[in-house]
C-alpha cells in the first residue's frame, strides 16, 4: 500500500488525462470563448463565415421539420410549403455566404502561420455541402427532382461513380441527404470553428508577426 505521507508520485497516465492536458494546452477556455478579438477582425469580411453558420442552422432546423412530416406535407400544406421554401432559401444563404467567406479567406491567404488544417477542413466542408445540396434537389419528390436525377445519371455514369452512387435510387439519395451528409457537414463545421479558436484569426498580410496593433486602432 502506498504511503500517503511520502513524496508526491507522478500522475498515472491515462487517455482521459492526456486529452485533458491537450485541451488545456491547445484550447483553453479563453480561446474557445473569447470576449475580445484582435483589431484587424473589425471588418465586414469576417461576417460571411458567421452568416454561413446561421444559414446552416436554418437549413438544419427546417430540414428536421421536413424529415419529420414528409413529402405530402411539404408539397400540399401551406405551412409545409413555407418550411420547404425556408429550407431552399437558407441553403442559398449558406452557399452564397460560404463562397464569399472563401473569397475573403483566399485573398487573405488564411492558411498562413499554421492554419493549413483549418483551410483544408473548409475545402472539405465546401465539397460535402455541394453533394448535400445535390442530393437535396433530387429528394424534392417532384418533376424537377426527377429531371435533375435523370440528367445527372448520365454524368455520374460517365464519371464512373454511377454504380455505387445511383441518383435514380430515391432511398439512397434521401438517406444520404438527411442522415450521412448533414452529420458530416455539421461535424466538419464544428471542427472548423474549433480550429479557428485554437489558432486564432490570421493577421492581415501587411502586418508582421511581431507588429503590435496600434492602440489608436479600432477594436472589434
Amino acid at each position: 500500500m502506498r504511503d500517503v505521507n511520502s513524496a508526491p508520485q507522478a500522475e498515472p497516465s491515462s487517455w482521459t488525462l492526456a486529452i485533458r492536458h491537450f485541451l488545456q494546452r491547445r484550447l483553453p477556455l479563453r480561446h474557445l470563448l473569447p470576449d475580445r478579438q484582435p483589431v484587424f477582425v473589425g471588418s465586414w469580411v469576417y461576417i460571411f463565415g458567421v452568416v454561413a453558420i446561421a444559414g446552416l442552422v436554418w437549413v438544419t432546423g427546417s430540414g428536421i421539420a421536413l424529415a419529420f412530416f414528409g413529402p405530402q406535407w411539404w408539397h400540399q400544406s401551406g405551412i409545409g410549403r413555407f418550411v420547404n421554401s425556408v429550407h431552399l432559401w437558407s441553403v442559398q444563404v449558406f452557399f452564397v455566404s460560404m463562397v464569399l467567406h472563401l473569397w475573403g479567406q483566399y485573398f487573405m491567404a488564411s492558411w498562413r502561420d499554421g492554419r493549413a488544417k483549418t483551410w483544408m477542413v473548409g475545402v472539405v466542408i465546401f465539397a460535402f455541402s455541394i453533394v448535400a445540396a445535390f442530393t437535396g434537389f433530387i429528394s424534392q419528390q417532384n418533376f424537377d427532382g426527377q429531371w435533375i436525377a435523370v440528367n445527372a445519371k448520365d454524368a455520374t455514369n460517365a464519371s464512373g461513380v454511377g454504380s455505387f452512387f445511383n441518383v435514380l435510387n430515391f432511398g439512397q439519395m434521401y438517406g444520404l441527404h438527411i442522415a450521412l451528409l448533414p452529420m458530416l457537414v455539421v461535424t466538419l463545421v464544428v471542427i472548423h470553428i474549433v480550429l479557428v479558436r485554437m489558432h486564432g484569426v490570421v493577421r492581415p498580410i501587411e502586418k508582421k508577426q511581431t507588429e503590435r496593433p496600434s492602440t489608436e486602432e479600432r477594436a472589434s
Partner: protein, 53 residues
C-alpha cells in the same frame, strides 16, 4: 413563375440570367464588405504569443 429562365450562351458558356444576377450581387457585396466601415467598440486587444502561430 413556372417558366424556364432565359439563358446566356457564349461559346461553351451557358448560364441563366438569375445565376448571373446572383454572382454579380455577390461581387458587389464582397466589394462593399472590403470598403465599408465596421462599427467598433471596446479597446484593441493584443494577439497572444503562440495563439495565432
Amino acid at each position: 413563375m413556372d417558366v424556364p429562365a432565359t439563358y446566356l450562351n457564349w461559346n461553351f458558356i451557358l448560364i441563366s440570367i438569375p445565376n448571373v444576377v446572383v454572382i454579380a450581387v455577390m461581387f458587389v457585396v464582397f466589394i462593399i464588405a472590403l470598403v465599408a466601415p465596421f462599427p467598433g467598440h471596446g479597446e484593441a486587444v493584443e494577439p497572444e504569443v503562440g495563439h495565432d502561430a
